[in-house]
């Protein structure tokens, strides 16, 4: 790879290093990742994986990435609960038992899978 071609990669890598290590940029990036992840999750289940990947990528380590992804999953469950409670459907969804449980499990597991991206980048 030439120095010219390597320039943007190096720059991106430096930026990624900053958001992982510096508190201010880290929190900004984390909030952006959470919002983007939530928006994508309302469209497709892959949004959960992408959300997990985004919050993972701005984490300082793989372990923190997994924890952040779990946190994203919990946030998704909370938002989901509020979105069901507003039209009065939360009780009916809870009554589905295992099916609602499956939804919660997906909310927690899919972001963790996405967070494995932290090990690659």
């Amino acid at each position: 790879m030439s120095d010219d071609a390597a320039g943007p990669v190096v720059a991106a890598s430096e930026q990624l290093g900053r958001v992982r290590e510096e508190s201010g940029p880290h929190w900004v990036a984390l909030v952006v990742a959470l919002v983007v992840g939530l928006v994508l999750s309302t469209v497709h289940w892959l949004g959960l994986v992408v959300g997990g990947a985004l919050v993972g990528l701005v984490a300082a380590s793989l372990r923190r990435a997994v924890v952040a992804a779990l946190g994203f999953g919990v946030l998704v469950v909370l938002v989901w609960g509020v979105s069901l409670a507003l039209p009065g459907a939360l009780g009916a969804v809870r009554a589905t038992g295992e099916l609602a449980g499956l939804g919660v499990a997906i909310a927690l597991a899919a972001p963790v899978v996405g967070s494995l991206a932290r090990a690659v980048v």
Partner: protein, 807 residues
């Protein structure tokens, strides 16, 4: 470094595998369905609907009342029924789709291989062909245009409204609705009320045991209980002079192989369904108009089999219930009168065996050899290999092939029938004459129609086409299997899947092939009359064969006893009194059996049995929710049935489906061979011991612990779609009806005082959408035996506005 690279590769591969696996494996469907925020199943929780809809038929308005019942108003009949179709599909689309799939034999395509046998049966019975022929005929009648507008309304809702949760769980989309689908629903209902393989079962039991034992299990008549039409109705002898009085004793006819009967019985409609209805004239009702009550006891399920609606059009206003998928209100009232139905139990199904050719493709028919009309169909199976089924048809109708025997089935419902037109005319009727004209077109199922109008007119009328059978020129009953090759008992002028020419011609054919409608049992202006599926008319008042599948008559006897006593007391049979009649829970089986049971138990040395006898002896025979005796009797009845038949039937390789009605069990003489060497008292005691053991093991204390609405489930079998538990009084044999074991009972409990209140309640809720507040908002009231008071003017906020497409 190398280790780090390996770790990255492994975790990267895990990420890739997770994403690829999620996208391209069966897991994908679960993720699409159940992922929070985006999962399709959770999308069903949004219960909002379109507030404005374009209609090609013109403007209409829909208001929903506080129980989710739509009131549709329109100045054009097409616009009215377009909106009716739209709201029905919005509220009950999955139920409608399931029904058409069931009777078309297309269930496996969405639920998988478990439904293949059901699909085979329903295709072999060719219900879909009958529905197509009926749709073609109905299109050309006055009911055709509104029915087609209704179909268009359903399809508009399929296109514009979100689909209910069941479609999302099964992961399929509904296909467009057709008029023939509505006719499939009509066939489903008609078969459910007239389809019976009793003749085959009785013949087989007679063959396996003795004819006398078979007669005891399946008696043609239940003695000593009042028929629907009673002497004070001053009835004529129906059919007198027509020369169609059947010969008394006839040959038993051919026996159908057990494998075939077993298989057919698996798909037989519920034989214990029953209903109540009554009409009381204004003189006795204490007002200016009659009171009409109707409580059809059908299968209970979530959502209910009935859909309630209120239609206010240019030429009629009608409120009541219909089956989802059927455009016109079947039971209810209009501005002129009210009407209801119960089942007759008439015999409109015959079975034929054939001398087959060696290839199985042909059969002897008189002097000829004929080929079966046959074709092969493919049954689509979700998540499995498709299956094929060979359909066969003879001159009589569809031919069911099981084991090595072909059995032809003739059923009046296989013709192009006018029942839809009859129901349409009922909704528009303005008096007794109109209702009788409509009833003449109600060709299947055979029903007891009761009607009353505001001017005081009343009518009881048996509907349905009744075939006349002949063997060697002699008129015979239909309670045997016929030799189709010998051309026994052919239905004259009847061709399956066509409009029967005999039904279009005037009566008086020689020989008479069908009972003329004017000879169907009927009573004009009865002072009071009640029906509960018992024998319609005493045998000495009926000069033709009507049927043998009548209800034992416990409910009929109880209703007439209550009404007779009230009349004798001189007090009026007003709505308050009839409300109590509708909520009566005295069980005729208990009245007939408990004294014998108590005596048998008191002869025991088992202290528990003696104590149980004391409990039962002091019991009022009412199946109330707080009664420990009712619980004990209920459990005893189950055990008594098993004690009587379980071993004997198992030895003969017969299942529970061959068990007789409880009325037959009660009538067994004490020396019946069914008691075996143990005698009746010992059998009763043994059943009571088992009942006590079962009760103690279950932890139940009172009847309501066992008889509750939690027994009413959803066809998909998912617990959350079933109803919550509320104790409900009544049994399969009480006026307030609830068979908790098989989940059937009062499916639309209605009492209409044409000079006062209109009362009714549904067992569940009017919406079939799980997430709707109206999914189960009537179930607690139904369990408590309460009614709702229904409005006769459209009520509720404007919910959907239909606008003319060109406007």
């Amino acid at each position: 470094m190398e280790r780090e690279t390996t770790r990255r590769a492994v975790l990267g591969a895990a990420l890739g595998a997770g994403v690829v696996g999620g996208l391209f494996s069966p897991v994908n469907s679960y993720l699409r369905q159940f992922a929070p925020l985006s999962g399709s199943v959770w999308g069903a929780s949004r219960t909002d609907r379109q507030s404005t809809v374009d209609s090609p038929y013109g403007p209409a308005e829909v208001r929903y009342d506080e129980t989710g019942v739509p009131a549709v108003t329109a100045d054009d009949e097409g616009a009215l029924y377009f909106a009716a179709g739209y709201v029905q599909a919005t509220d009950r689309l999955f139920q409608m789709d399931l029904q058409r799939r069931l009777f078309r034999g297309e269930l496996s395509a969405v639920v998988g291989s478990a439904a293949v046998d059901s699909d085979r049966f329903h295709r072999e019975m060719m219900f879909a062909e009958a529905a197509e022929a009926t749709a073609d005929h109905v299109r050309g009648t006055p009911a055709g245009p509104p029915a087609e507008a209704y179909v268009d309304g359903i399809n508009a809702a399929i296109e514009r409204e979100s689909v209910p949760v069941e479609f999302r769980l099964l992961d399929y989309e509904p296909e467009p609705w057709r008029l023939a689908d509505s006719m499939v629903v009509e066939k489903l209902i008609a078969w459910g009320l007239t389809g019976s393989f009793r003749t085959l079962r009785k013949t087989l039991v007679a063959d396996q045991f003795t004819p006398e034992m078979a007669d005891q299990l399946y008696p043609d008549r239940f003695d000593d209980r009042p028929p629907v039409v009673r002497p004070f109705h001053d009835p004529e002898t129906f059919g007198a002079g027509l020369g169609i009085d059947p010969a008394g004793e006839t040959d038993a006819g051919p026996t159908v192989q057990q494998g075939t009967v077993d298989w057919l019985t698996r798909f037989e409609p519920d034989q214990q369904l029953g209903s109540n209805s009554w009409v009381v004239g204004p003189e006795l009702a204490g007002g200016d108009s009659p009171i009409v009550g109707n409580d059809p006891h059908l299968n209970l399920q979530a959502p209910p089999v009935w859909y309630e609606m209120h239609l206010d059009g240019p030429t009629h206003r009608v409120r009541g219930v219909t089956f989802p998928g059927v455009p016109f209100i079947i039971i209810g009232e209009n501005d002129h009168g009210a009407w209801g139905f119960t089942n007759v139990g008439a015999d409109v199904v015959d079975f034929y065996t054939y001398d087959q050719g060696p290839d199985g493709e042909s059969y002897t028919y008189g002097e000829q050899t004929r080929e079966f009309d046959s074709r092969t169909e493919e049954i689509e199976v979700a998540d499995g290999s498709n299956e094929t089924v060979e359909l066969k048809q003879s001159v009589h109708g569809p031919v069911v092939t099981e084991a090595t025997q072909e059995v032809g089935v003739a059923w009046t419902g296989h013709a192009a029938t006018e029942t839809t037109l009859a129901v349409y005319e009922l909704t528009h009727s303005e008096g007794v004459t109109d209702v009788r004209d409509a009833a003449a077109k109600f060709e299947v199922p055979t029903q007891n129609l009761v009607y009353g109008n505001r001017e005081g007119g009343r009518l009881f009328q048996v509907t349905g086409r009744l075939p006349v059978r002949r063997v060697d020129g002699t008129v015979v009953g239909g309670n045997r299997v016929f030799d189709g090759s010998a051309r026994e008992a052919e239905w004259g002028g009847f061709d399956p899947f066509e409009r029967p020419p005999a039904w279009e011609s005037s009566p008086g054919d020689d020989p008479l092939s069908w009972v003329p409608f004017g000879e169907n049992p009927h009573v004009e202006d009865p002072a009071y009359l009640a029906t509960a599926n018992q024998q319609t008319v005493a045998d000495d008042r009926l000069a033709y064969y009507l049927g043998v599948s009548f209800d034992p008559g416990y409910r009929g006897e109880r209703i007439y006893t209550l009404l007779d006593e009230r009349v004798e007391s001189g007090e009026s049979l007003d709505l308050d009194f009839l409300r109590e009649v509708g909520r009566d829970t005295r069980d005729g089986r208990a009245v007939a059996l408990v004294d014998s049971l108590v005596a048998a138990a008191r002869g025991s040395e088992d202290d528990d049995l003696v104590e149980a006898a004391n409990t039962l002896d002091s019991w009022d025979r009412r199946m109330t929710v707080d009664s420990s005796a009712a619980l004990l009797f209920d459990r005893w009845m189950d055990q008594y049935r098993d004690e009587l038949f379980e071993t004997a039937f198992a030895d003969a390789d017969l299942g529970e489906e061959y068990y007789p009605a409880d009325g037959a069990i009660e009538q067994l003489p004490p020396d019946s061979a069914w008691f075996g060497p143990r005698k009746r008292d010992a059998v009763m005691r043994r059943a009571l011991r088992s009942a006590l053991d079962e009760r103690d093991a279950s932890g139940e204390a009172v009847y309501g612990d066992r008889s509750h609405t939690g027994r009413i489930g959803h066809p998909l079998g998912l617990d959350f779609l079933a109803y919550p538990e509320h104790p409900r009084a009544g049994s399969s044999e009480t006026v307030q009806n609830f068979d908790h074991e098989d989940s059937r009972g009062g499916s639309w409990e209605m009492q209409v005082d044409l000079d006062g209140e209109f009362l009714a309640v549904l067992p569940g809720g009017n919406s079939g959408r799980y997430f709707s507040e109206h999914y189960d908002d009537q179930i607690a009231r139904w369990a408590r035996g309460e009614y709702r008071s229904l409005s006769r003017t459209p009520e509720g906020d404007l919910t959907v506005e239909f606008r003319a497409e060109d406007g």
